[in-house]
């Protein structure tokens, strides 16, 4: 198992009310597996992804990434663990606005200190067909190019797990297909993908689909 979430629960406490975002959820993903989690907006998908990514500690339950519980590590080691094991892709891309494509893809090297980062970045960029865009900043790119840049960044440190939050949410059909194709490709190389989305198209690329609602796994929705 590359990713295991056992009986994970998370409740957000706000001044007005408590919101139960995840309720005793269990999910496992093997190496080479493309797992989709589908559900309506507000059902807890992003929460699930952040917990799986070592960014948000669950209230209860355990998280294991390649056998390690990131929340048992001290903060700096956890950051380091994220840098070398987990890649993130978001709907909003979260590219750094003042860096060109190459520098954006290289950003994780600040954390990992990889020595072959430059070569690897150029290779990834070329693979995603953006070699003539090396020094364009995000504002000069199409949304599809931005998401491919974000994907290349997520892959720079050769993570074991790729976590994608609505990666196609802002993309047209063609670009969405390209991004999903690249995710599939990653699993072919032995990585694990957790894709959370409410988009039916995205689900088609996944080997298995889990439906959640109200923070819990539910039976698949009738189409």
């Amino acid at each position: 198992m590359l990713l295991e979430l056992q009986n994970v629960s998370k409740t957000y406490h706000t001044a007005k009310s408590d919101v139960c975002a995840l309720n005793d959820l269990t999910l496992t993903i093997d190496a080479g597996q493309f797992q989709a989690v589908q559900g309506p907006s507000g059902c807890g998908k992003t929460t699930l992804l952040l917990i799986a990514g070592g960014l948000l500690a669950p209230d209860s339950g355990t998280v294991l990434v390649d056998g390690t519980n990131p929340y048992s590590l001290p903060p700096n080691e956890r950051a380091q663990f994220r840098a070398s094991n987990i890649g993130f892709v978001f709907q909003q891309f979260h590219l750094i606005p003042y860096l060109g494509v190459l520098d954006n893809v290289l950003a994780p090297a600040i954390a990992s200190g990889r020595t072959d980062a430059q070569a690897r970045a150029e290779e990834l960029i070329a693979h995603f067909g953006m070699q003539d865009r090396l020094h364009h900043v995000p504002a000069q790119l199409s949304t599809g190019e931005r998401q491919r840049t974000a994907l290349a960044r997520a892959l720079l440190n050769e993570p074991k797990v790729l976590l994608a939050d609505e990666p196609t949410g802002n993309l047209d059909h063609e670009n969405a297909a390209a991004v999903l194709g690249h995710l599939k490709e990653f699993t072919a190389g032995g990585g694990a993908v957790l894709l959370v989305t409410h988009d039916d198209r995205a689900v088609e690329y996944a080997e298995s689909v889990t439906n959640i609602d109200g923070g819990q796994i539910v039976a698949p929705q009738p189409a």
């Binding site: 952040l50 960014l55 950051a79 606005p97 600040i110």
Partner: protein, 439 residues
């Protein structure tokens, strides 16, 4: 890829934010350096002004007569001050020895015999019995002894020929004689003695008997308000005969001496020790006091000036630094808020919180460094342009202080980093989950 590259790219991307921080640091540093440079110029200026004032004061007081009196070593100076007379004597030959020497510090040698005698020794002076013992000074003089090694200067005082007498104002009054009209030749700028330079043919105003000799009074001095008013002058040789001191003098007056060093009496003493051993030298007349006072005053004015400027700079500079520090802090705070999404993703991809801290502090340090350079150049330029320096001073070498440049290069980045510290810490503590969730 490293943090510094990130910092540089961000600076180039958000030029305005950087420029505002930079200007702020430059203003603070500029004020500081400008004030320091001006103060330094001030210091030099007041120093020089004080010196100049002292100098002109010296010249003025010299004009008043930087006079020295050479006396026999065994002469008690107290006697001169309290009795107004001298009782010890030295050979007349001393004057000639001095005149033939190469001494440059001394001008106008006036050998003299000094005595105090009863006024009633002049037969035509009639005094009421109560005043019968009133005395006057008698000075035997032969006029100036020319210094051999120099061009002959005009005699400073009229030679009093044998058989003649010059009397002071008060003596003239007792004789019912009016003071002689000052001679019209030459401007009145020179002192009284000089002004009354020789007349072609001195008229006899009165003939008197003094100590059994006949004297023709040729001149009555105008009122001077000092002991000269109660003095009579007669020929030196005659006085030596009258007072039974052949070939002896009581003192040698040297007028309008000039010296290179401040402690001129010491300089003259030094010269005389070699030429005339067995003599002593005193400065006669009040100029020494006036000069010392002038020097003190000049110094006080300079110090007060400087203190005023220092306290002004002492208030202004900290205020500007504080204001600019606050401004930099606010700019950094705005920068952090603007970049929260960036901070979230950088944390997600594995940057440690200290690296986030460094991104913001690094920027502050760069702002501080470049601001310091710009500010130093501006402040120094301002100081050079506004600071008034005495002429012929090389402003650059006088005002450029490498330690000040070094200090600003260290302190400005430190202050900028300190001002950005709180925003930077806030940034490094931001929870990436909160940021990334806010879709």
């Amino acid at each position: 890829m490293n943090v510094w590259r990130l910092v540089l790219r961000e600076i180039l991307h958000r030029k305005l934010n950087f420029a505002m921080g930079l200007v702020s640091v430059a203003v603070a540093v500029g004020c500081f350096v400008g004030a320091r440079t001006l103060l330094r110029a001030d210091e030099i200026q007041t120093e020089q002004a004080g010196k100049a004032l002292e100098d002109s004061m010296r010249k003025i007081t010299k004009g008043l007569g930087f006079n020295i009196l050479i006396l026999p070593e065994d002469q008690d100076v107290n006697e001169l001050h309290t009795e107004g007379t001298l009782t010890k004597s030295m050979p007349y030959e001393y004057v000639e020895r001095l005149a033939n020497s190469k001494i440059v510090t001394i001008n106008h040698l006036l050998p003299m015999v000094v005595r105090k005698v009863r006024m009633a020794e002049i037969d035509k002076i009639e005094l009421p019995p109560a005043e019968s013992e009133t005395s006057m000074y008698v000075i035997g003089t032969r006029g100036e002894v020319p210094l051999v090694h120099r061009d002959l200067k005009k005699p400073l005082e009229d030679h009093v020929p044998a058989g003649t007498m010059v009397v002071g104002f008060q003596i003239g009054k007792k004789l019912q004689l009016k003071p002689s009209k000052p001679s019209k030749k030459k401007s009145g700028k020179k002192n009284a003695q000089k002004g009354e330079a020789k007349k072609a043919k001195p008229k006899t105003l009165e003939t008197v008997n003094f100590l059994g000799r006949e004297f023709k009074i040729t001149k009555v001095k105008p009122e001077l308000g000092n002991r000269d008013d109660s003095t009579i002058w007669i020929n030196l040789t005659e006085s030596q005969e009258l007072f039974d001191s052949k070939n002896l003098v009581n003192g040698i007056l040297a007028l309008e001496c000039n010296c290179a060093t401040a402690d001129r009496v010491a300089e003259i003493r030094n010269d005389l020790e070699r030429i005339l051993p067995g003599t002593q030298v005193i400065e006669s007349g009040p100029p020494a006091l006036a000069r010392a006072e002038a020097r003190n005053q000049a110094k006080q004015v300079a110090v007060k000036n400087l203190e005023q400027h220092q306290s002004f700079a002492g208030v202004l500079v900290p205020l500007v630094v504080l204001g600019c520090g606050t401004w930099i802090g606010l700019l950094a705070f705005g920068n952090v808020r603007q970049r929260s999404s960036e901070i979230g993703i950088l944390r997600a991809i594995g940057l440690r919180s200290v690296q986030i801290l460094l991104i913001f502090l690094g920027k502050a340090i760069l702002i501080g460094l470049i601001g310091a350079v710009v500010g130093y150049a501006a402040g120094f330029g301002f100081g050079m342009a506004m600071g008034t320096l005495p002429e012929a001073t090389d402003a650059w070498s006088q005002l450029f202080a490498p330690e000040l440049l070094l200090a600003t290069l260290l302190i400005a980045p430190a202050i900028a980093a300190l001002a950005s510290w709180i925003p930077a810490v806030l940034a490094s503590r931001q929870d990436p989950a909160m940021i990334l969730q806010a879709d």
